[in-house]
């Protein structure tokens, strides 16, 4: 990195900004606020819509491959490829968007994000460990991979998210996480087809609603 950010070096004494009219100052404040909010906001509608696509098409693909099974034999290989392919692509895009929003930002918010990451990782690992334990203890594939797989890790991740969303006052994210938990939990009553199908559709709807709310909220702020 070049040494351009050293305040000890001599800077150009440039105060030649001209006369600033009050109206122009107010306009400048609003423009800068909108730009800053757009740049720093980690609530990405794009990532939410991509997440909806994962649930709709990824979970939908698995549901599609299970829909005619009278006896559970597991999803088709192609549907697993579609699901994980979408997860990987969405994960990469979401990470890039998140990294762009938080790049160069330090302090308390950065530490909170790190703590949230640790909590999410722990919740996911714990849920998947229990899934392994269930299989180890002899639970059937239908329960372990058909019902538990698409729902419980999701519930664990959403539960971890609710804590952080609530503590940071991020109400849209809190509502989204609660909706995902309820949809996933409710769908477990309907067996593997219901777990994949209902969770897929329900979470896709929740994420699209969230994307709309975030977009409307930002536009209202920009117009205010």
């Amino acid at each position: 990195m070049s040494e351009t950010d050293d305040l000890d070096q001599g800077g150009r004494d440039d105060d030649d900004d001209g006369v600033l009219e009050p109206g122009r100052a107010a306009e400048l404040i609003k423009q800068t606020q909108v730009r800053a909010r757009r740049e720093f906001d980690t609530s990405s509608p794009i990532a939410a819509v991509l997440g909806a696509a994962v649930f709709l098409f990824g979970y939908g693909a698995v549901w599609w491959s299970l829909r005619d099974q009278q006896v559970y034999t597991g999803p088709a290989g192609w549907s697993i490829v579609v699901l994980y392919g979408l997860i990987v692509v969405t994960g990469i895009v979401a990470w890039r968007l998140f990294h762009r929003a938080t790049s160069g930002v330090g302090g308390r918010a950065h530490r909170q994000m790190e703590a949230a990451g640790v909590a999410l990782l722990a919740a996911g690992v714990a849920a998947w460990m229990v899934q392994g334990a269930l299989r180890y203890l002899g639970a059937g594939f239908e329960i372990v991979y058909g019902v538990y797989g698409p729902t419980v890790p999701l519930i664990a991740l959403a539960a971890a998210s609710t804590g952080f969303a609530a503590s940071l006052g991020k109400w849209a994210e809190l509502c989204l996480a609660v909706a995902i938990m309820l949809v996933a939990a409710g769908s477990t009553f309907f067996g593997p087809k219901g777990a994949w199908g209902l969770t897929g559709v329900g979470c896709a709807v929740a994420l699209v609603v969230y994307a709309v709310v975030v977009t409307v909220r930002f536009r209202r702020f920009a117009r205010s």
């Binding site: 990195m1 070049s2 040494e3 351009t4 950010d5 050293d6 305040l7 000890d8 070096q9 001599g10 800077g11 150009r12 004494d13 440039d14 105060d15 900004d17 001209g18 600033l20 009050p22 109206g23 100052a25 107010a26 400048l28 404040i29 800068t32 606020q33 730009r35 800053a36 909010r37 740049e39 720093f40 790049s103 160069g104 930002v105 330090g106 302090g107 308390r108 918010a109 950065h110």
Partner: protein, 99 residues
């Protein structure tokens, strides 16, 4: 009513944008010099000058980490800076309402 009621240190486009950008972060959060420069589109020399003036007034705090070619500077709004910006915007609102 004139612009005399507005803090002259803040009533400059570049410094106003610097403070508003920093105010968009949560209290205590910092922003790297390079990200700020990228967001505001100022030259390094110009940004340094404005930051130094704001720092001298106690409106911002700068922290430098590393040295030489890898030196990184981060900037944060102080509570005095946040108060000054709030006062400025309130004065500006009064001024515009009175026009």
């Amino acid at each position: 009513m004139t612009t005399d009621s507005l803090d002259p240190l803040i009533h400059v486009p570049a410094r106003l944008r610097i403070l508003v950008t920093l105010a968009a972060l949560d209290t205590g959060d910092t922003l790297s010099f390079s990200r700020m420069q990228d967001m505001l589109g100022l030259t390094a020399g110009n940004l340094i000058t404005h930051l130094r003036k704001l720092a001298d007034a106690g409106y911002i705090r700068t922290d430098k980490s590393g040295s030489g070619a890898v030196a990184r500077t981060s900037v944060a709004l102080t509570s005095a800076g946040r108060t000054a910006l709030d006062t400025y915007t309130a004065s500006l609102r009064n001024l515009l309402d009175g026009l």
